[in-house]
Symmetry: C2
Subunit: 159 residues, 2 copies
Amino acid sequence: MNYTIRKAKRKDVPTIYSLIQELAVFEKEPEAVEITVQDLEEDGFGEQPKFEVFIAENNEKVLGMALFYYRYSTWKGKTIHLEDLIVKEDARGKGVGRLLYNEVLKYAHQLQVRRVEWAVLNWNTPAVEFYKNSGADIFEDWRIVQMNQQQLDDYIKHI
Amino acid sequence: MNYTIRKAKRKDVPTIYSLIQELAVFEKEPEAVEITVQDLEEDGFGEQPKFEVFIAENNEKVLGMALFYYRYSTWKGKTIHLEDLIVKEDARGKGVGRLLYNEVLKYAHQLQVRRVEWAVLNWNTPAVEFYKNSGADIFEDWRIVQMNQQQLDDYIKHI
C-alpha cells in the first residue's frame, strides 16, 4: 500500500480525537480522556500551538498519527517529546507506526534538537524491542511521577 | 531562617546556570551540560519563554530553584512538567526544597492544570518517599526512552 505522511490541519481534529479515544479504550481507560475536540482545536491549531501532529493516510483515509511537542532540558536545551504514536487497529502490522516514528525523528534531526524523548510501558515487549533496535536508550532507573488534579487539591489544602 | 520565593528574572541566569552545573557535578555528569548562559537567557527570558523558574533566597542569596515548563497530555490537556528542583549543597536539609516544591504545586493549582509531572531516580529513596508522602503517584510500569543527537544521526542514516 502507498502511505503518505503530512502535517495535521485543523480539519483533522475530530479524527485526532477519535484516535486518542481509540488508544484510551485499548488501554482500558476510556474515562481518562477529559479533553474535548474544542480543546484540541484551540490547543493545537491556535496562535501558539501546544503540540504538532503528523498524520499517516492512504487514499485520504487516516491510518494513524504521531503527536509531539517541545520540552526543555537544562542540559541539552530544546527537545522533542513524542506523546502519542497511534495506529488504527485495522491498519496495524503494515509499517505505518514505523513510518510515523521515522517522520518524527527526521523532523527532530532537521531541527537539530539534541534529544527526542518518550515513554513506553515496560511490559510492552514489541515496543521496547522496536525502540531498542532503533538505537534509543531505555532508562531503567528513572520513574515517572505524577500528581493529578485531585491529588493536587488534597496536597494544597494541607500546606 | 526566612526564605522568600520569587519568579526568576533575566539577571538570575548566571545563577541558574551555576545551579544546573552543580547538579550535573553532583550526578557525576559535568560534561553533559551542553547549554550555555546565552541559551538560557534566550530560551527562558525571550518573547516566548520555553520554561519558568522559581528562585528561593535568603537575604538576596540564592539557595535553590525550581525550573518547569508546560507539556500536553492528549487525555488531560495542558500540564506542568517540573524539570529541575535544585537546592545548593550548603542549604540542604532546611526545607528549601519543600518550599520550592510547594510553590510549583500552588502555581499549578492556580492555573488549574490537570496534572503535574516529573521524574525521579528510583534509588533516590528520600526523594521517592518525599513525593509519595505528598500524595504523588510513582509509575513503576513506565520507562523513559531517549534518543540523543548521535543516536538520531545514526538512525537517520539508515532509513
